[in-house]
């Protein structure tokens, strides 16, 4: 059961701001002068805007001393927000062995690491201070959350590129289902800024013609889709057993009824950077099988849809896996039009959006998709791609994420009746 949500997104920090931006289709993509100075081709991105004063609601003065890890900042904020949203207090007492966290990352503490490298190369290693390790280790974010909340069950950080967030939720779900935990804070975070985004810029898979016009750059499913806009942030969900949720009289925002993860093995068209379509379809089918539903039961899809030429392939895979096409295809949307591709955080931020849609019974608009890609229209009807907020009854939404390394993850969320 999903009983709490927290989010730190480029277009909204905190659930109320994000929810509002989601419904209205507000973009969080901005121009970054620093990227221009550094001669990036793509000088735009999505980054949550966080006031210094707000940080003090989540961290002590001491924790903020020499603190320079945006991924931990976003993750702790989203994680603690989700915990409070679930009606759970910050545990000041004893360790809670029934609760844990699976909080995924891509790379963590890149800015702190850069700061350290400058000290190290200057022969001043002893000047690093005491917190460099905890701010740069991959599990830093789960370690911070575990300490603040006194978590005594699993405390770990998974990593599977851009499917990390969706995978984290699946790992948490499986552990709860197996009876090994009652409650898990599941989510993911991603650092942002030039040192994270540079590699993608070098790969030339980011849009470079929109530096003057950032909010129009990310165009999933559009004929003009020309690369993904890099983003960052964090999303978090509190998952718990039905028994535990009922005992606390907690609001259940959605339930997870099926999941699947797999890999295309970088075979049959799959590679380090591209998905094996057969594996994508199999992953979706396995999730349906796990949920014990047919493809016809899906009301809507929250896709991975990054705004590259691969969007067409993804739509084709959904169509084949669900055995639905034309007007018979479910509604589909992509959050990346608004926030860009938040990398390791994308799956969890998008899962938060998915659960909000189920709970509030609406579909958020696909922005920057005025002209749908003609190859997509050969597979599905344009009605399936809402361009305005749409209030429709929704019972089941499928969410999938795919990542470098040819890895896939799919979750079937259901409205709790």
């Amino acid at each position: 059961m999903v009983t709490g949500l927290g989010v730190v997104a480029p277009n909204g920090v905190g659930l109320p701001a994000f929810s509002n931006a989601l419904k209205k289709g507000i973009s969080g993509i901005r121009f970054f002068p620093q990227l221009k100075t550094l001669h990036f081709s793509c000088q735009i991105g999505g980054m949550p805007q966080i006031a210094e004063a707000l940080k003090k609601n989540y961290f002590t003065e001491l924790q903020l001393k020499n603190f320079n890890s945006s991924g931990i900042l976003y993750g702790v904020m989203a994680g603690l927000d989700a915990w409070k949203h679930a009606g759970l207090g910050i545990n000041k007492g004893d360790v809670d062995f029934d609760s844990g966290t699976v909080f995924g990352v891509g790379t963590l503490g890149v800015d702190k690491f850069r700061e350290s490298i400058h000290f190290i190369d200057a022969g001043k290693t002893r000047r690093l201070g005491s917190t460099t390790v905890q701010q740069t280790m991959s599990s830093g974010v789960s370690a911070y959350l575990g300490g603040i909340l006194g978590l005594g069950n699993i405390v770990t950080s998974n990593s599977s590129a851009c499917s990390t967030g969706t995978e984290a939720i699946i790992m948490a779900y499986e552990r709860i289902k197996s009876g090994k935990a009652k409650r898990i804070l599941a989510g993911s975070t991603s650092d942002g800024g030039p040192y994270v985004w540079a590699g993608f810029d070098a790969l030339r898979i980011l849009p470079y013609k929109y530096n003057e016009n950032p909010t129009c750059a990310s165009q999933p499913m559009s004929v003009n889709a020309c690369g993904f806009v890099p983003g960052c942030g964090a999303g978090a969900l509190v998952l718990e057993t039905l028994e535990s949720a009922q005992k606390r009289d907690a609001t259940i925002y959605a339930e997870i009824i099926g999941t699947a993860v797999n890999s295309g093995g970088q075979r049959n068209g799959g590679s380090m950077t591209a998905p094996n379509a057969i594996a994508v379809q199999q992953c979706i089918r396995e999730a349906l099988l796990d949920a014990e539903i047919q493809g016809t039961a899906i009301d809507a899809i929250n896709g991975h849809l990054t705004a590259t030429s691969k969007d067409v392939e993804e739509i084709a895979s959904w169509s084949k896996a669900l055995k639905r096409k034309g007007r018979g295809f479910p509604f589909i949307n992509s959050l990346k039009g608004m926030v860009g591709h938040c990398l390791s955080a994308s799956g969890s931020i998008e899962a938060v959006a998915t659960v909000l849609q189920l709970h509030k019974q609406f579909l958020f608009p696909n922005i920057n998709c005025e002209k749908i890609h003609p190859e997509i229209l050969k597979i599905i009807d344009s009605e399936c791609i809402p361009k305005q907020q749409k209030n429709v009854p929704l019972n089941i939404i499928a969410k999938a994420s795919f990542g470098f390394g040819d890895v896939n993850a799919c979750i079937i969320f259901k409205k709790k009746n």
């Binding site: 002590t60 003065e61 001393k65 020499n66 002893r126 201070g129 005491s130 917190t131």
Partner: protein
């Protein structure tokens, strides 16, 4: 610099690293930083860095080994300031 001046500056540094449930008033000349003031031992390295910056001195690994109480710190600082 008088011992009082050193003590005051040191007290400000140490205060930053006190756990939430330990008040500044608990800092005494013979307080053991980790055992009595409950400062996380990893923060000793931060205290040393702050001391170096504040007093413009450098502490060696051997100095750190001798550093247990506020008094120890004052003694080390005084020896470096001469």
């Amino acid at each position: 610099m008088t011992e009082k001046e050193i003590y005051d500056k040191l007290e400000t540094i140490i205060n930053t690293y006190l756990p939430e449930d330990v008040s500044k008033n608990a800092i005494q000349a013979d307080s053991d930083l980790t055992k009595e003031l409950n400062i996380n031992s990893s923060h000793l390295v931060d205290i040393v860095l702050d001391v170096e910056d504040t007093f413009n001195i450098a502490l060696t690994n051997e100095d750190m080994e001798k550093l247990h109480t506020v008094k120890d710190a004052i003694f080390i600082i005084q020896s470096k300031l001469i």
